[in-house]
């Protein structure tokens, strides 16, 4: 019945379950929460460890003795310039205001994605399933391609880059300093169950930019009577304050926290309901309206509020999402913390749709085709672009300076060991 009940698999199954539950790497010999293994919460999720047998070596830390002997922060810069005897880390990174990017997010932030080729008979081949093992061991997420912490080039062909990519391009000393603390089903309510997996030492690490992006699960649930299950503004306030208090005691001084608002999800139904789901494309017999209704019947619809034929319910869900966004906005404008400053940005999906339409696209092309719920890679990167531009315009100090030594770093260290 259950492969994990086989005696020789019990222990490894328990370890995998614990890794997924706690959102920490499965393979992490020195327990510094960074791994040399890609999946199972490894370097697809947070910067790759460059020495998994030394707990003091991990991405994001301040260099140890200017990394004369080893690359203590895994940014690929270490050693001494033989021409002048100055350590490279000191020469290229001192005063450059290095910082990491940390996402506190849900499945949208982790980039939940089921490739449509897996369900589309006419497109299926051996190649379609090559990435299935990796996707399964990343809980069907693709954080390496996500809008916030993605470090691989987009597979969708658009030129926009993730926030990590841009931060690294701005200052190569930030290489590998990313963490995706995100989980399927995460909300303001359950973040406390895995926020401990965040790896940042107040005393020894660089400051960080933390994006708090719980963009749906406080209003989305699969309960038949969905409205009473939604987070109230009062609960939201308490939950977020609890998270911010935790961050204040873990983030190095000089960090920044940006709260994302919740999008208005009515576009999901409006854009999809009469289109065919990948399972219905061959015989034109399954629309998204049918698919959502099937999921609802099985109590598996991830968002009964928005993925519903009931217009009143969709409107109610949007109203609650707006109230929760206003709560976040209020927190950002009224609360202060010693170790970080606090900002709020809207998750204005209608603006992303406008951006996309200006390029000749259609709104449905921004939604994951198989689940009909999550923003896809293009939407995530367009959102990242909007957020980056807003920060650059309104709060440029958040991003730190551009490092004038970037080209020299490339010259000496190439791709800095890759990701």
């Amino acid at each position: 019945r259950n492969i994990c009940s086989l005696p020789f698999l019990t222990k490894i199954c328990q370890k995998i379950e614990l890794s997924i539950k706690k959102a920490v790497p499965f393979k992490d010999i020195d327990s510094d929460k960074h791994s040399v293994f890609p999946t199972l919460r490894g370097y697809h999720w947070r910067g790759r460890d460059c020495n998994d047998s030394d707990k003091t070596v991990y991405p994001g830390r301040r260099p140890d003795n200017w990394d004369i002997h080893q690359d203590s922060n895994c940014n690929g810069i270490w050693g001494i310039d033989p021409k002048d005897g100055i350590p490279y880390e000191k020469k290229f990174c001192e005063g450059s205001q290095p910082r990491g990017i940390i996402l506190l997010g849900d499945s949208a932030g982790a980039h939940f994605h089921i490739p449509p080729e897996w369900l589309t008979a006419s497109q299926m081949s051996v190649n379609s399933f090559l990435n299935l093992p990796s996707a399964l061991t990343d809980e069907l997420n693709w954080p390496q391609l996500s809008g916030v912490t993605g470090f691989l080039d987009s597979t969708s062909g658009i030129e926009e880059k993730s926030i990590y990519h841009r931060l690294r391009k701005r200052n190569h000393c930030n290489h590998r300093d990313y963490q995706s603390i995100s989980k399927n089903g995460a909300s303001s309510r359950n973040l406390k169950n895995f926020i401990e997996s965040l790896s940042r030492n107040q005393a020894s690490d660089h400051p960080a930019i933390v994006l708090y992006a719980m963009i749906g699960n406080d209003v989305c649930n699969s309960k038949a009577d969905t409205v009473p299950e939604m987070t109230t503004p009062e609960q939201m306030y308490a939950n977020v304050m609890q998270t911010l208090t935790h961050l204040n005691s873990h983030l190095p001084n000089g960090s920044h926290v940006i709260l994302y608002g919740l999008p208005d999800g009515t576009f999901l139904w409006d854009s999809l309901h009469n289109r065919y789901h990948p399972l219905g494309q061959l015989n034109k017999d399954v629309t998204y309206a049918q698919f959502f209704s099937f999921l609802r019947c099985l109590q598996l619809n991830p968002c009964n509020g928005w993925m519903s034929s009931n217009k009143t319910l969709r409107t109610l869900t949007s109203e609650r999402a707006e109230q929760l966004s206003n709560t976040l906005k209020k927190i950002a404008t009224t609360e202060t913390f010693a170790n970080f400053d606090l900002f709020y940005v809207d998750f204005a999906f209608h603006e992303i749709i406008e951006d996309w339409q200006k390029r000749g696209g259609q709104p449905w092309q921004l939604i994951e085709p198989v689940d009909g719920f999550h923003p896809n890679e293009v939407a995530s990167l367009l959102q990242a672009n909007r957020v980056w531009e807003k920060i650059q315009l309104q709060w440029p100090h958040v991003l730190g300076k551009e490092n004038p030594f970037n080209s020299q770093i490339e010259e000496v260290f190439g791709d800095q060991g890759g990701h």
Binding site: R1, I3, L119, A121, S122, M124, S125, V126, S128, F129, L130, L132, P133, L136, T137, L279, L282, N283, D285, V286, Q290, F291, F294, L295, C297, L298, Q299, L300
Partner: protein, 122 residues
């Protein structure tokens, strides 16, 4: 896994098998083998697929050969179950004949099956 997840998984898999047979103009048996052949060896995915074909394949073939839709197949195989207060959940438009009679017909097909290799309740 909850009953809902088993049901969804079954409906998706049977739909894919049915459509693979249609696209390649092949038998259901060949479609199932084709699907398994696409899967990688890693994580025992290919092995698990052939195991499922061996266990459920002959019943799936019989039901799809009777032009049953994937959701009816999965109710007949008891991956989908109707709860006390839960309605019959269906992905595809309801069959022309009443749902109950389509399901009864499917169950009869399985009763005639002499190759049952698994407990229905499992």
């Amino acid at each position: 896994y909850s009953h809902g997840q088993s049901c969804l998984g079954c409906v998706v898999l049977v739909s894919v098998i049915e459509q693979l047979a249609e696209v390649h103009n092949s038998s259901v048996q060949v479609a199932m083998e084709r699907l398994c052949s696409y899967l990688p060896e890693k994580l025992f995915l290919k092995t698990a697929c052939y195991f499922l074909v061996q266990t459920f394949g002959s019943d799936i073939i019989k039901l799809l050969d009777e032009a049953m839709k994937a959701d009816v197949v999965c109710y007949a195989l008891e991956f989908c179950k109707r709860g006390a207060v839960q309605p019959q959940c269906h992905l595809y438009p309801l069959p022309q004949e009443a749902w109950e009679s389509a399901l009864e017909k499917a169950r009869q097909v399985l009763r005639r099956s002499s190759t049952m290799k698994y407990p229905r309740s499992g």
